[in-house]
């Protein structure tokens, strides 16, 4: 497939935003149970603003993918069958809840919703946080299932796709949270950096597993099944077009095999190895956490590029020779 930069930015930006929101609310939940000191409203509030900015960036990027962006509202209609439609509904819903969560903290409007036995007070921001957490996971699932549900794109058609979207989005969000708290609440940076290390290692394992799986895939469709002729030697002499077509532009990444070989270790190092090293050092020197987030984000851009480029669409069998 040809990686579209609109989709690469959409998935990486909202992934980081979802992860950041989850990180903030994880901290708030720990604090609710007294496991960590509760931070100021401004800490959670401005963190939510940062997540919201990333989400808006992702949403803007997604419009560049559409031929007719003015009709985008129509894409919410087929949520019964289409994961893309579900994403279109869940993304703004999540943005709305992040906005309200941030608003609740920044205005200090946190009325008590329910008081649990043992004196635990669940306020409005906690309720919004729980809803936001569910929506964040729902959004991860929708985004990943857009790819994982396509059964003949076999590199994507795997539960690992969903797991990896959750883990990689979570990793970049927690790294960002570590950087954010290093400047906003320095004594809490270790908590976020610790989780960021754990999630980044899990994401590394998940992505590695999917690379191993994809390397072993044998194509189900062949030129023989594509045209229904049983013969071991079939060569296309003409695709029925004198120049390129939509089919040659949309489904081939157009980069050399050497480039594909080079980008794989590059994204593994940028997304996982370097950030892990920087996070470990960052517990001592918080300045490195910013670098960890930026390097991991660049790595995720490369990872997403590779994710799309690696998927080999069976339609390519029909489009091999211009002539």
């Amino acid at each position: 497939m040809k990686p579209a930069f609109s989709v690469i930015f959409l998935t990486t930006l909202i992934g980081a935003a979802q992860g950041l929101f989850l990180a903030l609310f994880t901290h708030q939940s720990y604090a609710l149970f007294g496991l960590l000191p509760m931070q100021s409203d401004a800490f959670y509030g401005y963190g939510s603003v940062l997540a919201l900015l990333l989400l808006v960036g992702g949403l803007i990027a997604s419009f560049f993918h559409l031929g007719r962006p003015e009709r985008a509202w129509r894409s919410a209609t087929k949520w019964r069958t289409s994961w893309l439609s579900r994403e279109v509904i869940v993304l703004p819903a999540f943005m709305g809840v992040v906005f309200l969560f941030g608003l609740s903290h920044l205005t200090g409007y946190r009325p008590e919703v329910v008081s649990l036995p043992g004196g635990l007070i669940v306020d409005l921001s906690t309720v919004l946080g729980v809803i936001g957490t569910m929506l964040a996971f729902a959004l991860f699932i929708c985004t990943a299932m857009i790819y994982a549900c396509l059964r003949f794109l076999r590199e994507w058609h795997s539960p690992l796709t969903v797991i990896n979207y959750i883990l990689m989005g979570g990793a970049s969000g927690f790294v960002l949270a570590a950087f954010y708290s290093a400047s906003a609440a320095p004594d809490q940076a270790d908590f976020f950096a610790g989780w960021a290390i754990i999630i980044t290692m899990l994401a590394f394992a998940g992505r590695w597993a999917s690379l191993v799986r994809n390397a072993r895939l044998k194509p189900k469709s062949t030129l023989q099944t594509a045209i229904g002729i049983k013969h071991p030697h079939i060569v296309q002499r003409s695709m029925g077009a004198m120049g390129g077509t939509f089919n040659t532009r949309e489904f081939f990444h157009g980069k050399s095999a050497a480039f594909m070989r080079a980008i794989k270790p590059a994204f593994l190092i940028l997304t996982f190895v370097l950030p892990l090293a920087l996070l470990a050092l960052g517990i001592l020197t918080p300045g490195l956490l910013a670098l960890a987030f930026i390097i991991q984000y660049l790595g995720l851009l490369a990872e997403r590029w590779f994710f799309f480029a690696q998927a080999n669409h069976p339609q390519n069998l029909y489009y091999q020779t211009i002539g």
Binding site: M1, H65, L66, G67, R68, P69, R71, A72, R74, S75, A76, T77, K78, T81, S82, W83, L84, S85, V88, I146, C149, L150, R151, F152, L153, K220, S221, L223, T225, A226, I227, G228, I229, H231, H233, I234, V235, Q236, R237, S238, M239, G240, A241, M242, G243, G244, T245, F246, N247, E250, F251, H313, P314, Q315, N316, Y318, Y319
Partner: protein, 243 residues
């Protein structure tokens, strides 16, 4: 239930591309607007087509054969492109099984092309919407046309009658008989899309002659080639002499 479809006889197709030009001519002239062409006389012409004729070489020289392979939307009975569409612009008609795109609802997200294993859909770079074969839905029901003309444009254009059109759910239709009796097959059956369009394979007509067909049962001497050979100048009789 009706499922309209094309049956393409690869044994007869000569690869002339008359179906391609006829399709383009009809579908670029309709009320849905033109099928765009970009750079038509330039180095890299490109454009939107519903139907293309591809060419494959089967085998290795000198034991090779050329296969011309017309390819358009297969109007799958279980089309994977339809449920993924977020707007409902892609749909399959209940009444005749044609898979269509509503160009006024399409947002041009191209997700349907990712979901089609056949590469049957082409994005129109000027209209910015997805386009595909309509099975000439604007011809086949047009009562202002003579009944013989109410067929897809490609079918009408084919000089060798390699393209048949009809209802594959009606067992008595020409297309059903062709599929049944001439070995009609579907493309990429491994994905379970159940394409409605079928292809008839290349097949060679071979004449098989058995030995007893070479010998005449009514030969009076029971041995062929052993009739008496009268001299060249003498009179001879059919069935009795060797010449």
């Amino acid at each position: 239930m009706t499922q309209l479809a094309l049956v393409i006889d690869l044994n007869v197709c000569v690869g002339c591309s008359a179906c391609v030009t006829s399709c383009k001519e009809w579908n670029t002239s309709g009320s849905a607007g033109p099928l765009c062409d970009e750079n038509p006389y330039g180095l890299n012409p490109t454009g939107t087509f519903f139907n293309r004729v591809q060419t494959f070489e089967i085998g290795q020289y000198p034991n090779s054969e050329t296969l011309h392979f017309p390819k358009s939307c297969l109007h799958c009975e279980d089309p994977p492109c339809v449920p993924v569409c977020p707007t409902g612009a892609s749909y399959k008609r209940k009444e005749d099984g044609i898979v269509l795109v509503d160009y006024d609802k399409c947002i041009g997200c191209k997700y349907c092309t990712w979901a089609c294993p056949y590469g049957a859909r082409e994005f129109d770079e000027q209209a910015k919407v997805m386009k595909k074969c309509t099975l000439c839905v604007d011809r086949i029901y047009d009562e202002s046309m003579a009944e013989a003309d109410r067929k897809p444009s490609c079918v009408k254009a084919c000089p060798t009658s390699a393209r048949l059109f009809g209802d594959i759910h009606d067992p008595e239709s020409e297309v059903s008989q062709a599929i049944r009796e001439d070995g009609g097959y579907a493309l990429m059956p491994e994905w379970g899309t159940h394409p409605a369009n079928h292809y008839l394979p290349r097949r060679k007509t071979k004449l098989k002659i058995h030995q007893d067909e070479l010998e005449r049962a009514d030969n009076p001497l029971k041995v062929d080639g052993q009739q008496p050979k009268p001299g060249k100048g003498e009179s001879s009789m059919d069935d009795v002499s060797a010449w």
